[in-house]
């Protein structure tokens, strides 16, 4: 059975949802900065900034790189350290 959805390009499909998500991020960052207890010394604030900066990369692995940025590092020697 052929798809009954009208053929669209990815940009046509994603433009409005991405626009909405950018607005959500912008308003969330505004909300955080407006709050009385906000401090830019919090490492989570730096993480958010770094994550946003990854979106400007001109290659199609942004999602993977954002995931890795928010991940704890992996040490291949962990079994020796744990002695398991």
């Amino acid at each position: 059975m052929a798809s009954n959805f009208p053929p669209t390009t990815p940009l046509e499909r994603e433009y409005l949802p991405v626009r909405a998500k950018i607005l959500e991020i912008a308003s969330a960052l505004d909300r955080i900065q407006r709050s009385a207890d906000h401090t830019e010394d919090d490492p989570r604030w730096d993480q958010l900034q770094a994550g946003i900066n990854l979106l400007f990369a001109d290659q199609p692995q942004r999602a993977e790189h954002v995931q890795l940025m928010f991940s704890r590092p992996y040490d291949p020697q962990w079994r020796q350290q744990f002695d398991v």
Binding site: M1, S3, N4, F5, P7, P10, R13, Q61, A63, E64, Q67, L68, F70, S71, R72, P73, Y74, D75, P76, W78, R79, F82, D83, V84
Partner: protein, 278 residues
Amino acid sequence: MYYLDPHIHMVSRTTDDYETLAKMGCIALSEPAFWAGYDRGSVDGFRDYFEQLTSFEAQRAAQYGIQHYTWLCINAKEAENVDLSREVIAMIPEFLDRPGVLGIGEIGLNKNTRNEATVFLEHVDLAMKTDEQILIHTPHLEDKFQGTRMILDMLTDDGRIDRSRVLIDHVEEHTVRPVLEAGFWAGMTLYPVSKCTPARAVDIVEMYGPERLLVNSAGDWGPSKPTAVPDFIMEMRRRGHAETLIRQVVYENPVEFFSQSRGFVFSPPEVGELSALD
């Protein structure tokens, strides 16, 4: 389209959810043992849970024409209690020959600790000694990458393991490649907030192909959506993917993986019904 949900915790869901799943085309599901939301205090607590998974829950599913399968273990969150974990692992064989039991799972890591790794390895050893398939939980959020790599280390260091009989679940963009490249099956969990969304799961199918990839809802007592697999189907259709490709991911792949378990006695829909919507 008929589909299977390979990972959903129906003990946490209402009977209305069974009815909705049946109406959406779900004909079978598998339910791994997991955390109850609190740490259980004794091996008898787990024995009662396994009784529920292997008897009552299967009957409840059958009321809606859904075939119910299950996996047994003590989950990683409770693995810090190594003594209790060993009692549970010793008790699991009492249930392995019950109808619908597919293997050991969902074992895995949570915070990637030494005790969790110890209990994981002892579960794997049980699976090898009893010739069971394995379903694996990978950790959440910032712990996922590290934990998935640790799990892969433990599995690939064990020469007894047939990688085609192991499903590593909750993969995302940063963990799917090493899982597939190592020869394991990979599951994508569709959650509203964490893990994967339907759109990102479709991205992964487009980037890696459909082989050894499954999608599931992992519906449980937290924010989750038991009908997430139909959301994935809709997203695949929206992008113009062929029905045959969609069916491979949501029907044929789980049937192929589960068929390696002696507990998977499956009644497929009539052939005409399967192809009616293609």
